[in-house]
């Protein structure tokens, strides 16, 4: 039987709309983004060009309007690949990369291999080519440091990583108990839900709603909600700890700046400490694009702060509720599978012992 590959993230790109943007963001090199949406393929010309300053519409209470459905689905890696030394691809290079990724995605996985034990993403529209995603000429999401790589991990950060690994070992095997399984598999939160909000691999969609004094961000994958006051109130006491931290926002011109602290440390972003501070900047640079930039400050983990940037592309709603835990039969099946493996192993050991 022939199977289509689902493991590598690739793209089967049928670009129908390209919007090259050259919008300077404070302290940043020019951003470049383009939107693509797959089938049904249509010929299209550039649909937005924001070379001039863009003025976003306003909400009734006067906030710049960033409401709607957005996706940060992307093929651009957080860190720059080792064999790439420049900050931006040319459009031609990017198209080649997309084509290669498309070929990878539609390739076949080998029957009888672990990678093949999976449904086909393409049959469920979960490959990126079948949904809106934001093209990005950047070779890495990280813009600072300039080499596109995370800063070195501090000795304290290394020590914490070792301690976390040791603590996990004392809990037994990953499938010994439900509490040992990854929090994403347990439907608690997606690892990239953030902040910072990284793309989730699939269903990387968000809904932003604004009301007087508040901005709400709904994250589709595993269904998390961030309610961000923008009325000037201070952060709660540092004893208040949440999976997504606690966020406070303010407007600087047309840019929404959100500072988040008070993480509970259980969904550590790239090994960060619970004292990580994330500063996000949302700037609507066109009707269909928000530039999303974030800076991570955590001197207990990285030698210095670092910054990344990606476009969020307007997409279609509504978001179908990702009621994850409700139908997560996989957890019970995995635990049952692990017990079946143990039983088989014990029987084989007993047979050997009897000989």
């Amino acid at each position: 039987m022939k199977h289509r590959c689902l493991v590598p993230i690739g793209v089967l790109a049928i670009p129908i709309a390209i919007a090259w943007l050259g919008v300077p963001v404070a302290g940043q090199a020019p951003s470049t983004a383009a939107a693509t949406k797959a089938a049904p393929a249509k010929a299209s010309t550039a649909k937005s060009t924001a070379t001039k300053a863009y003025t976003p519409p306003r909400t009734p209470d006067g906030q710049p309007d960033i409401q709607g459905f957005w996706t940060n689905s992307t093929y651009t890696p957080l860190e720059r690949p080792n064999n790439v030394t420049k900050e931006f691809y040319t459009p031609d290079e990017l198209e080649v990369a997309i084509k290669q990724a498309a070929d990878r995605e539609t390739a076949q996985t080998e029957p009888g291999t672990t990678a093949d034990v999976h449904y086909d993403f393409t049959q469920f529209g979960l490959d990126r080519s079948q949904s809106t995603f934001a093209k990005n000429l950047r070779t890495s999401l990280i813009t600072n440091p300039e080499n596109g790589k995370l800063p070195p991990v501090t000795p304290e950060g290394q020590k914490r990583a070792a301690e976390r690994a040791a603590a996990r070992k004392t809990q037994g095997g990953q499938y010994d108990a439900v509490e040992n399984m990854p929090i994403g598999s347990r439907c608690i939160i997606m690892a990239g839900a953030g902040p910072p909000m990284m793309n989730a691999g699939y269903n990387s969609n968000y809904q932003i709603v604004q009301g007087p004094g508040y901005v709400m961000i709904l994250t589709e994958m595993i269904h998390d909600v961030r309610v961000i006051p923008v009325d000037g109130r201070p952060q709660p006491h540092s004893n208040v700890r949440q999976w997504v931290g606690t966020s406070r926002g303010r407007w600087d011109g047309n840019t929404l700046i959100v500072e988040t602290t008070n993480f509970n440390g259980k969904n550590a972003f790239r090994g960060a400490s619970e004292n990580m501070k994330v500063i996000e900047r949302f700037t609507r640079v066109a009707d269909d694009v928000i530039t999303y930039q974030f800076t991570v400050e955590d001197d207990a983990t990285w030698a210095r702060p670092w910054t990344a940037e990606m476009p969020m592309q307007k997409t279609e709603g509504p978001i179908f509720e990702f009621a994850c835990h409700e139908s997560n039969y996989g957890i019970a099946n995995i635990l049952a599978g692990a017990r079946a493996d143990e039983k088989r192993a014990a029987e084989e050991a007993a047979k050997k012992g009897a000989k």
């Binding site: 049904p40 990017l94 990724a101 179908f320």
Partner: protein, 140 residues
Amino acid sequence: MRTKLAVVMTAGGLLLAAGPVRAHHAFAAEFDVNKPIKLQGTLTKWEMVNPHSWFHIDVKGPDGKVNSWLVEGGSPNQLIRMGVTKNTVLAGTELTIEAYQSKDGNNKAVGRNFVLADGKRLFLGGSAPGGGGDSNSPAK
């Protein structure tokens, strides 16, 4: 030629860094790579649920006895965005599913390939919006 090679190499860097799709959970822990199975039967129910949808199918054995199977598929969210509804694939649809059976030996499997009676792959090749078909037409 040199330019072309350079393009391919830099593009390869992007590709390699793209990494694996983040699966919601480890399917190889749930299903047995050594138990490939081909199920041919009739859909009785499609659960459009998260994190993964489930197809209920009745499979008639050589002895005429009907066995019910539960087959795991993908999250329905993107299909819904593409216009698929619970009426797109109706109970009674004939399906052939290439799958891997659960490790505990129950009638559960992960559907590696969902194929309709006319040979088209479910939701692809005209059986779903985006595949060139009519979004309102049942795949049956």
